[in-house]
């Protein structure tokens, strides 16, 4: 994340990064406090005075067979499956089925990945 911030700042010719908005997909099941702490420590290490804002994007699946939309419910997964989805969200396809038609053919519509939604800085 910090590397990506540096990369964007360089591309935009920013002297200082002031604010970074980060979106976190629910499927990543990231421990937000641990993530905030790590970013805070790393940004201090790099002498960055940045305000990080975080937003969790709820995960949603869409069945390719019947069109059903449904939300992610981590309680439907065993602990080891939750851990696997946390590391590689796509393995949700190994554990989940459309609750309406039982198809394994579904799309992760939203709620996967961690990305920089916006970044503000000074030239």
């Amino acid at each position: 994340m910090i590397s990506a911030v540096f990369k964007i700042a360089e591309e935009r010719g920013l002297r200082r990064v002031v604010e970074v908005k980060i979106k976190i997909g629910e499927l990543q099941q990231i421990d937000l406090d641990a993530f905030k702490l790590a970013l805070s420590q790393l940004s201090q290490q790099y002498s960055m005075d940045v305000k990080f804002e975080f937003e969790i994007e709820k995960a949603e699946f869409k069945c390719k067979a019947c069109g059903n939309l449904w939300p992610f419910n981590r309680d439907e997964l065993k602990p080891e499956e939750q851990e696997a989805v946390h590391i590689i969200p796509e393995v949700a396809h190994a554990f989940l089925r459309c609750p309406r038609c039982n198809s394994p053919d579904f799309k992760i519509v939203r709620g996967r990945g961690v990305w920089i939604e916006s970044l503000r800085g000074e030239r």
Binding site: A94, D105, I108
Partner: protein, 241 residues
């Protein structure tokens, strides 16, 4: 706006000296076996070797290596476990024995996730076991991994050779380095397509006879290394190492 995973892939692979993708246009030609046993041979020779199984929907390297109950350690990313001296990552660590039906976008996302997460040691060789064909994973390999060279596998079948011809054409068109072509599962030397392979725009590295002993050795790295298959593959690796 920006996927931070893409910023870290080069860094994650920066300590790997050589990255080789074992590829073919066709399935069932022995890519996974060549990939896994190559990694074992290189590790046996004292090189630091890694194996990454990228055939997400049909992973078989775990069966070849007998890799059960392995799991990476989460530490500033994902530290791969070792099997017989080989650092090893497969989607089977996560999906277990369940089928993992993935469409192209999911394949790309899983691939990027793994590249961004896995903390390989300083390796001499990272062997990539790739799915067959010219689909999403091949295109992602070409897009995301610099310093990648291809070891192409065919069988002595014109069906296989035709798909390999197209693969080589594609790789040449994007200036991807090709180490050469291995003819695998040769049952009778008179049936070798070596002369046909030599007409392709890639080096012919040799033929590996079909070895019935491999089946019994599956799941046991030590036994695999004692097969005639491994002996012949080892000779080929000598030439390209």
């Amino acid at each position: 706006m920006l996927d931070p995973r893409l910023s870290v892939i080069d860094e994650r692979l920066s300590r790997v000296k050589r990255i080789m993708a074992i590829s073919s246009g066709k399935g069932g030609v022995g890519k996974s076996l060549i990939a896994a046993v190559s990694a074992l041979i290189l590790a046996r020779r004292g090189f630091k070797a890694g194996l990454l199984d990228l055939d997400f929907t049909n992973p078989s390297s775990s069966v070849i290596l007998g890799a059960r109950s392995l799991y990476p350690v989460e530490d500033r990313g994902m530290v791969p476990p070792k099997i017989s001296g080989v650092e090893y990552i497969s989607i089977t660590f996560f999906a277990g024995d369940e089928p993992s039906p993935l469409r192209g976008e999911d394949v790309t996302n899983a691939f990027v996730e793994i590249l961004a997460l896995v903390r390989w040691s300083p390796l001499d060789y990272l062997i990539l076991d790739t799915p067959p064909g010219l689909g999403d994973l091949l295109l992602d390999l070409l897009r995301l991994i610099k310093r990648l060279s291809f070891l192409v596998v065919t069988t002595p079948s014109r069906l296989s050779l035709e798909t390999v011809r197209k693969l080589i054409l594609l790789l040449r068109s994007v200036k991807a380095p090709i180490i050469g072509v291995i003819e695998n599962m040769l049952m009778d030397s008179s049936q070798s397509l070596g002369e046909e392979i030599k007409k392709l725009d890639a080096a012919f590295l040799g033929s590996i006879p079909l070895d019935p002993g491999v089946e019994k050795a599956l799941g046991d790295p030590e036994k695999l290394l004692e097969t005639k298959f491994a002996e012949k593959l080892s000779e080929i690796l000598n030439a390209i190492q």
